[in-house]
């Protein structure tokens, strides 16, 4: 079982040490192979995981009463995740052998990608929250390395740093949450934490406190309000990285963590409410920004934030299996969207601005059709994967009585369909707006890139059928498989007639979104500019992402840096060090002063003796 971890790690290690000496051919064979082996192993365990297997590797920390094992936990939840992580990771590795072919740091890239997969597996397979933290930070490290992969570019290295530090802010919450868990449960083991919460051993207030602290960590890693700001910048990394880390796997870690601790969160009502509200609000908020972006990857980045918002929302309202369901379908269609975008960028010679694209479907049909399938899936067009998972989330929120949140979710669905088809129409339809030079080079991507696209498109199309709407079938393979890991079973009753209406509504909105996008960007391509000129304030606000980066810079970063500078210049140097040097100088001064007494002149000494005697006599005579 441990081999699932060893192969990616070993491959990464070999690439780091011997990468320089290996040819690109060998690297592009071994790096994906190591992931493929892990995938095969996880397939093997998938069928046996339903009972839950714990595989202890060794005792990591044993200090006082703190005992932490490195142990793998293979249960339905983790095996679904492992399968997705290794599967998607393998496809993206294959894709990257084509995409990164011209890069001179080819082996370094795959060393990081393998290492990432290793840490992601550690995160997913961990049996305790502290071991999860190892994976949690490990994937953060790889994210940092890969965002800043082209480190000579200032913007790339800046984005990498930003990602790591913003995540560290979240980690602070996560860490304090772990301490509270250790404090109340006296164990870091997931099963024990959940069991303690469900049996009421953790006071509800503390459970909510823990829930919120852990969720702060999740807002960092899963890019939710208020810590989402690093993810759009993370697009500086190579596109396969955006697909793997910043869409399919790492950024969903926060959702996974909440579902992993669903026992705790179902007790922590207040924390769950916070989670749900933040999730759905993030979904809406990010979607509004996605509407105005012109960089193809930025649209997808905000789309990712928005979609994870859905998952977080689902986790917050207790629809845990729906959250994971959407996590998996999203992994397929969002990885596909990113890889498709990568294929476009590849063909465009690095251009990411959609205003310079257009009519690309003529030049790259495979990319276009697979991208279209992903677009249909994310929009929630009936029959495609996203439709099933998103509707399950929305229906769950409706039936659990979160009607306001539900309406925000539905509105977001409309926005989603709009922005993704805006992207599709701007990129693949309309006039060819690129220059002749670029147009001349347009080409379909090589097989190593298109085959992963096709495979992912297959799953984005049919992946949803594992869990059908309740009005079609009460029987869901998906829910039954995950049933065992849910501590407090949902007692929601889906009223079929209402659910059908809800589905019809969201489907209609999805079509409406596509239609509006078509009207604005194919039928009347001049209209968007007219509209944005009519409402310049709102347009600018959205285009500049509500100026949140600038606000953070102004409110947090600058005061801290300048404050430190001020303390250094006005306190550390003059006051603290000044006192030290001052006392030295005073001593020196006093010494010099006293040395004046020692003149070496007999006359002076006699005077002072006489003066002393006179003083003493006077004092004695006065009877002191």
């Amino acid at each position: 079982m441990i081999w699932v971890l060893i192969f990616p790690l070993l491959s990464s290690f070999l690439l780091v040490v011997f990468g320089k000496y290996l040819s690109k051919k060998i690297v592009s064979f071994t790096a994906p192979l190591s992931i493929l082996i892990s995938f095969i192993i996880s397939l093997f365990y998938f069928s046996r995981a339903s009972e839950g297997i714990i595989y202890k590797i060794y005792n990591w920390i044993s200090v006082g009463n703190l005992k932490i094992d490195i142990a793998l936990k293979w249960d339905p939840l983790s095996s679904v995740m492992v399968l997705m992580v290794t599967g998607v990771s393998f496809l993206i590795h294959v894709y990257a052998t084509g995409y990164m072919h011209e890069d001179k740091s080819f082996s370094r890239f795959f060393a990081y990608m393998n290492l990432f997969t290793f840490f992601m597996l550690v995160l997913v397979l961990s049996s305790s929250i502290i071991m999860m933290f190892v994976g949690w930070e490990g994937v953060g490290l790889c994210s940092y390395l890969l965002i800043g992969f082209w480190f000579e570019k200032e913007s790339a290295s800046k984005a990498g740093m930003k990602a790591f530090i913003v995540n560290r802010i979240g980690d602070l919450g996560f860490l304090i949450g772990i301490f509270w868990i250790l404090y109340t449960v006296k164990s870091a083991d997931f099963d024990l934490i959940n069991a303690a919460a469900v049996s009421g051993k953790i006071p509800v207030a503390i459970a909510s406190l823990i829930g919120i602290l852990l969720f702060i960590g999740a807002t960092g890693k899963s890019a939710q309000i208020p810590l989402y700001v690093w993810l759009p910048d993370a697009m500086e990394g190579p596109t396969p990285v955006s697909a793997l880390i910043h869409a399919a796997t790492m950024v969903t870690a926060g959702v996974y963590m909440i579902v992993r601790l669903n026992g705790l969160f179902s007790v922590a009502h207040f924390a769950s409410t916070v989670v749900a509200v933040v999730g759905v609000f993030t979904a809406f908020y990010a979607a509004t920004i996605a509407i105005t972006q012109n960089d193809i990857k930025k649209v997808l980045a905000y789309s990712t934030i928005s979609q994870i918002g859905y998952m977080i929302f689902a986790a917050g309202i207790g629809a845990y299996s729906a959250a994971i369901f959407h996590l998996i379908t999203h992994a397929f269609f969002k990885a596909l969207l990113f890889l498709g975008a990568g294929s476009v960028i590849h063909a465009m010679g690095g251009i990411q601005d959609m205003r310079k694209m257009g009519n690309l479907r003529k030049y790259m049909p495979v990319t276009f059709y697979t991208f279209l399938i992903a677009g249909l899936a994310i929009s929630g067009i009936p029959g495609f994967a996203g439709f099933f998972s998103k509707d399950e989330i929305l229906a769950s929120s409706y039936f659990s009585g979160h009607k306001i949140l539900w309406s925000i979710g539905v509105l977001t669905a409309l926005l989603t369909a709009f922005y993704i088809f805006r992207l599709i129409f701007m990129t693949f339809y309309g006039k060819e707006r690129m220059d002749e030079e670029t147009k001349h080079h347009l080409h379909e991507s090589p097989k190593s890139m298109t085959i992963p696209l096709i495979i992912l498109a297959f799953f984005a199309a049919i992946g949803g059928y594992v869990s059908l709407p309740k009005f079609i079938s009460e029987h869901s393979i998906w829910e039954e498989y995950l049933h065992k890991i849910i501590y407090v079973k949902s007692e929601l009753h889906f009223i079929h007639s209402i659910e059908l209406n809800l589905t019809l509504l969201s489907s209609a909105l999805a079509f409406l979104g596509v239609l509006i996008a078509w009207y604005l960007y194919v039928k009347k391509p001049n209209l968007p500019i007219i509209i944005s000129n009519k409402i310049p304030f709102i347009y600018k606000l959205l285009l500049n992402k509500y100026y949140v980066d600038e606000i953070y810079e102004f409110v947090f970063v600058n005061p801290f840096v300048f404050g430190s500078e001020g303390i250094y210049e006005w306190f550390d140097k003059p006051v603290i060090d000044g006192t030290v040097n001052g006392s030295g100088k005073t001593t020196l001064f006093l010494g010099k002063l006293l040395s004046k007494l020692q003149t070496g002149q007999i006359r002076d000494y006699i005077y002072s003796i006489l003066f002393g005697v006179a003083l003493l006599l006077t004092l004695l005579l006065m009877g002191v």
Binding site: W60, L66, G138, E154, G160, R168, F179, Y183, I567, G584
Partner: protein, 490 residues
């Protein structure tokens, strides 16, 4: 055997003096191999140490100057680990100095060995006067190492270092003499003093303050830290490594061996103040590190932050905090020591420490950059590397003692990441700075050879910490007086 571990550096110091001046170019490599031999001897000592055995082992107790002033040495797990760290860092420091020390090599090697002997002496002494003797002995070589082989402001820095430390230790000497008198004037033996029980107040309070001041300056605890950036920055690479790697730990060790056991009530009285100063140090040191323009000064201020963390672990007064504190001393010795080595390596090539003079180094020196990054993450406490274990244990121990303090201290992990990553970005990333390409070249075999052992340890201590944590036990002398509290204590 412990006698040889203590005595060998002094012997080496004398040995170096008889090497003829003609062959002075080989003095530092020879010293490196000599101290490597000494490290192997220390390793054997470590292997022979019995974890389940007596409190102090390899004890030598011979009457010396007069009754009560015995030559009494011995080690427990804590001091043995610190001696190991010392013996490990010295050969590395020598090998790192082969190219950079180009004048008075003989004197340099002589003082380095004297320093090593003095440091080990501090860690093995079980007689208070003997301890004080070694504590003061090591000031002299350090003074010369900074003052002779340091950089531009070396005279100012070395004076400041010695005078500042001296103020503290003189008060400690007075306190030692006073204590001696108060216990009947018969013995300077630590065991005798402990057996008599703590002094009554107010004597206990005042004597504690005198001891504590000496230790706080050495650590250094905020606001006694300003000698450190100057001394670290001006010292030659080897000096900075030893200063950060070993010397600072003597302050914490002083609290463990003497400060807490001898003055338990006074310690408890001032514990809260010390905790507050330490947590200020964690945040303040990090903030000061953030805005430094000189790489070495940045690392120096990061030491203030780390040492604050180490003090917190000790002050938590529970097993997790204590073990974390000692563990973090080793980590800090390795990571910060390595950072100084790495800064030294690039300084040798470019002769500048200004961050703004660098840029794009990762392109020019890929191996160096990879090593730097690894050490950086070790220092930032990334799980899987050594720093995490120490920080986690300390913060958890602190949390058990005082939740609010733990939260404040934990902000150190954000600030730590910020100053290190920002440094890395400015020095290693971005376009290659003009004029840099001609000067720098990647690590050579010698440099790789002395860095690799540190890398191995950094990973080992992160992945399998039990090797070292099982060595660390709270000394009976502390356990006896204090209730070890903690949330999960059974």
């Amino acid at each position: 055997m412990l006698f040889y571990v203590l005595g060998l550096p002094f012997l080496f110091a004398l040995l170096i003096l008889i090497i003829p001046n003609k062959s002075k170019r080989i003095i530092i490599p020879i010293s490196g191999f000599l101290s490597l031999g000494h490290f192997i001897l220390t390793l054997i000592l470590y292997l022979k140490y019995d974890i389940t055995g007596a409190n102090f082992q390899f004890v030598i107790n011979k009457s010396w100057i007069s009754p009560g002033i015995n030559f009494h040495i011995g080690v427990d797990g804590v001091s043995l680990l610190l001696i190991l760290l010392t013996a490990f860092l010295f050969p590395i420091s020598f090998f790192a100095s082969v190219k950079s020390i180009t004048k008075r090599e003989k004197g340099f090697a002589f003082f380095m060995f004297l320093l090593e002997g003095g440091v080990i002496g501090v860690f093995v002494s079980l007689n208070v006067l003997l301890f004080y003797l070694f504590w003061e002995i090591m000031l002299i070589p350090m003074y010369f190492i900074i003052g002779v082989w340091g950089s531009k402001n070396r005279i100012y820095a070395s004076f400041k270092f010695v005078l500042y430390t001296m103020v503290g230790s003189l008060l400690m000497l007075i306190a030692i003499i006073f204590y001696f008198k108060a216990t009947g004037g018969t013995s300077f033996e630590l065991t005798d003093w402990l057996a008599k029980g703590p002094l009554s107040n107010p004597a206990q309070k005042w004597l504690f303050l005198a001891f504590a001041l000496a230790f706080m300056i050495k650590v250094p605890v905020f606001p006694f830290h300003t000698w450190l950036p100057d001394a670290h920055t001006e010292a030659p690479t080897a000096g900075s490594v030893i200063l950060a790697g070993v010397l600072l730990k003597m302050g914490v060790y002083g609290f463990i061996r003497f400060g807490i056991p001898l003055f338990p009530d006074a310690f408890m009285k001032y514990r809260e103040s010390l905790i507050i100063l330490s947590v200020i140090g964690v945040i303040y040191g990090g903030m000061m590190a953030l805005i430094q323009k000189d790489i070495k000064r940045l690392v120096a201020y990061s030491s203030v932050s780390h040492m604050g963390m180490i003090m917190l672990g000790l002050l938590a007064l529970n097993i997790e905090g204590f073990k974390g504190s000692v563990y973090q001393m080793l980590n800090h010795g390795l990571s910060t020591g390595a950072l100084f080595l790495l800064v030294g390596i690039i300084y040798e090539r470019t002769h500048t420490r200004q961050i703004s003079d660098y840029g794009g180094v990762a392109k020019l020196m890929p191996v160096y950059s990879a090593v730097f990054m690894l050490i950086m993450f070790s220092s930032a406490g990334l799980p899987g590397l050594n720093g995490f274990i120490g920080e986690f244990l300390i913060l958890w121990g602190t949390f058990e003692a005082n939740k609010l303090i733990a939260v404040f201290a934990a902000t150190g992990i954000i600030i730590g990441a910020a100053y290190l990553l920002w440094l890395y970005r400015r020095v290693f990333n971005g376009p290659v700075k003009e004029g840099l390409k001609e000067k720098v070249f990647d690590l050579n075999i010698r440099e790789i050879l002395y860095i690799v052992p540190i890398i191995i340890l950094v990973i080992w201590m992160g992945v399998y910490p039990s090797t070292f944590t099982k060595m660390i036990k709270i000394p009976h002398s502390i356990q006896k007086h204090l209730i070890i509290k903690g949330g999960v204590e059974k």
